[in-house]
Symmetry: C2
Subunit: 441 residues, 2 copies
């Protein structure tokens, strides 16, 4: 009897909180939508909106008249081979910005990259790039897409497979728009189509309907720890505003010159290009033992810098940089050090003067890149932009034999300390750091 009652209560409560979906298209005409930017055509037939590509017109958007903040959006899409498309959300258009061009988050529709999130006409970059194909897309067929935008959490799925998990706070609301991408004067793509159907949105009790399974998160809010990161044990090693937690490697306070904190960036000012001759290296106030360290950095042409770990600032009290293992930061193209050393062991990502980094993706001097150092006791890895470029074991004969050949040969037991400070190098070149985060293991 009790069980039957419980079952009844369950059924009733279920029906009481049934998810409320609103269709975004009436299936007959484009009421509630407007076209922006380009001249590609959109038509509705039998509940399907079809956009057709057209030469010599810019990106064309079919835009909702309403704005949406927190929502769950679902739609089916199908696209001809070769055609790029997307669905904008929390997007904007104003004459004041870029002559009215649509900008904001785009759910990418482009073969295996579909489901990633691109920042259309704004930061002009991938906010969440699917380096690894989630294997969700069925080419040439209808695909079911889902976008959950709840506060700073932006997540996507295709055919039930988690694609994007982005933490970003740039725009809290905006319109939704269907894109027919510009094809320039490529006649081969002329007349190709992209279609949508069953577009529906939920805007009430959204948090309640969020999907549990998810892709790994990318936090693009500068110098913050997202709730997911916090839960996973990540902490800011730099607060983005003050010098708290850092000091000069050879002084007790933070350097009075050479380092500037502005606009959420920690900047090494240009000096003479010398090692620790201007503001000098800075080190953490605390020591670290087992950890994952992430540092975003951007360099100027010809610049030299580095992130060191297992640093003992007491070792070298004389001139030059403090002693520790270094994740090398360098403009390999323009700095002569890239061609010095042995077989590339002074290039970017290398364990400086010891182990050459395997060459990973392209290095773009105009962008921020991410240096990651993983230390698990004697096992150490360097990652450049998420790709492993150096891996080694320390505290063994081979490590000591390698050190014996290097610049560090005369420092006792180099690199074998159980723990040490983390250091950002001043090598007299302008370099910016941000998103300095650590997860102790």
């Amino acid at each position: 009897m009790k069980n039957i009652l419980l079952a009844l209560v369950f059924l009733l409560s279920g029906s009481l909180v049934a998810q409320e979906w609103t269709p975004l298209c009436n299936g007959k005409n484009l009421k509630g939508w407007k076209k922006l930017n380009g001249n590609a055509e959109f038509k509705v037939k039998d509940g399907v909106i079809t956009g057709t590509s057209k030469m010599n017109t810019p990106n064309t958007f079919l835009v909702t008249e309403k704005n949406y903040g927190d929502f769950i959006l679902e739609f089916d899409y199908k696209v001809d081979e070769g055609l790029n498309s997307g669905v904008q959300f929390r997007s904007q258009s104003s004459k004041e910005y870029n002559n009215g061009k649509v900008y904001g988050y785009q759910f990418e529709i482009d073969g295996r990259w579909s489901g990633g999130v691109y920042d259309e006409e704004r930061r002009r970059d991938w906010l969440y790039l699917l380096d690894k194909d989630p294997g969700a897309v069925k080419n040439g067929e209808w695909n079911r897409a889902r976008i959950e935008a709840v506060g700073s959490s932006i997540r996507t799925w295709i055919n039930g497979v988690a694609c994007t998990n982005l933490w970003d706070d740039m725009t809290p609301e905006g319109f939704i728009a269907l894109q027919v991408h510009s094809i320039g004067n490529n006649s081969k793509l002329n007349g190709k189509t992209v279609s949508w159907k069953d577009i529906r949105i939920c805007t009430t009790n959204v948090a309640q309907y969020q999907t549990a399974s998810t892709a790994p998160e990318i936090n693009s809010v500068v110098n913050t720890i997202s709730p997911t990161e916090a839960k996973d044990g990540w902490k800011l090693l730099w607060d983005g505003k003050t010098s708290e937690g850092w000091r000069g490697a050879k002084i007790d306070a933070f350097p009075k010159k050479g380092w500037v904190i502005e606009n959420g960036l920690l900047k090494v000012q240009k000096g003479g290009g010398g090692e620790s001759t201007n503001g000098g290296d800075i080190v953490t106030v605390k020591k670290y033992k087992n950890f994952i360290l992430k540092v975003d950095f951007k360099i100027t042409p010809g610049a030299n810098s580095g992130v060191k770990y297992f640093v003992d600032p007491g070792l070298n009290r004389g001139e030059g940089s403090a002693i520790g293992c270094e994740f090398q930061i360098l403009d390999d193209e323009k700095h002569p050090d890239a061609r010095k050393g042995v077989k590339g062991n002074r290039t970017i990502g290398s364990l400086y003067d010891l182990i050459p980094a395997t060459k990973s993706g392209k290095f773009n001097i105009n962008k921020f890149h991410t240096a990651t150092v993983i230390v698990k006791d004697n096992h150490v890895e360097h990652l450049l932009d998420g790709i492993k470029v150096v891996e080694y074991e320390r505290n063994n004969q081979m490590w000591n034999a390698l050190v014996a050949y290097s610049k560090y040969r005369d420092w006792p037991d180099f690199g074998n300390a159980t723990e040490g400070y983390i250091l950002l190098q001043d090598h007299g070149d302008e370099v910016w750091f941000k998103n300095i985060k650590i997860k102790e293991l």
Copy 2:
């Protein structure tokens, strides 16, 4: 009924083959024994033979009048602190050899080293040294000793703990003798005693009563594989007599000069001290992948040589040694190369020019030493006289980074081959090799 019959047969057969023991002492006098060499005194009382140390007399032996070949011998012994003693077996004495001094196998009685086998007055060396204390001996108390000498197998136990397991064929039979060791003019040891009791020997059906539990075997029969070694997968890499299985590293045949085979030794003749300039290196005809390689070597003062593995004789067709990883053989004291290289990476036992050997025991230029190389895929170890002196992993970034700093920097993918030839180096110095054995893994 059948079971009862079987039990009866078992009981009867048991009694039929009961082990026959013969006491070696009648417990009253020394009938059947004679004294040789020294003047220390032996007395019998209440079944106990007691020897008393005496200053200024050589080793004194109480010797059985009978000779014994294959036997199991058991006795109790007890010795005063500080006194060294032993029990000879398969031993001899003749005026023609060493003026009648007793020589042959000795069951050592010397504190924790007891139970080892020493070759008294002959090869004058440990045949089986107990590097690791078996923990068998009770100091100052009666200890029960057991010697099993069956064919070439010589094994010992103290208080049931396996001590020696020697494979040796030098003397098939001889007397048994109790030793009171010389004490020179050390008055502190004067009058100290060593006692034996319950000495009994079994000489019939000996093989049947051999003990199962045993210590690890040492085979001291030169250039042979003992039955135990054969069962364990060991093979001779050199037959001790011919050049079979070997060729010049840069020629198809065995070198016509520079290498001599005589008296069970493979000898590199003295040349000008140059690398591969006389007879040249020799290599195995076969390749090896995963293995334990053992090579006994003896060098002349100032000599340089080496054992190489993962050798590719096709790589260096020009002057100098063939290319491979080298277990360095060197007179560290007199050869200048020991002080070249980096932090000792050219000393004996080192992985030449790459990883310095940790210093192990004393190196005696007048003796044979053993080089052991263990290869298990990418894991490699060097042992010098059984002690690990080098350990490394190849086929990884750190290995390649280390090679990049070394002499081998220009050889493609040095040391990363899956398999290769084994090489003995001619570095123009007189060097002897023997007992070259391999166990493929």
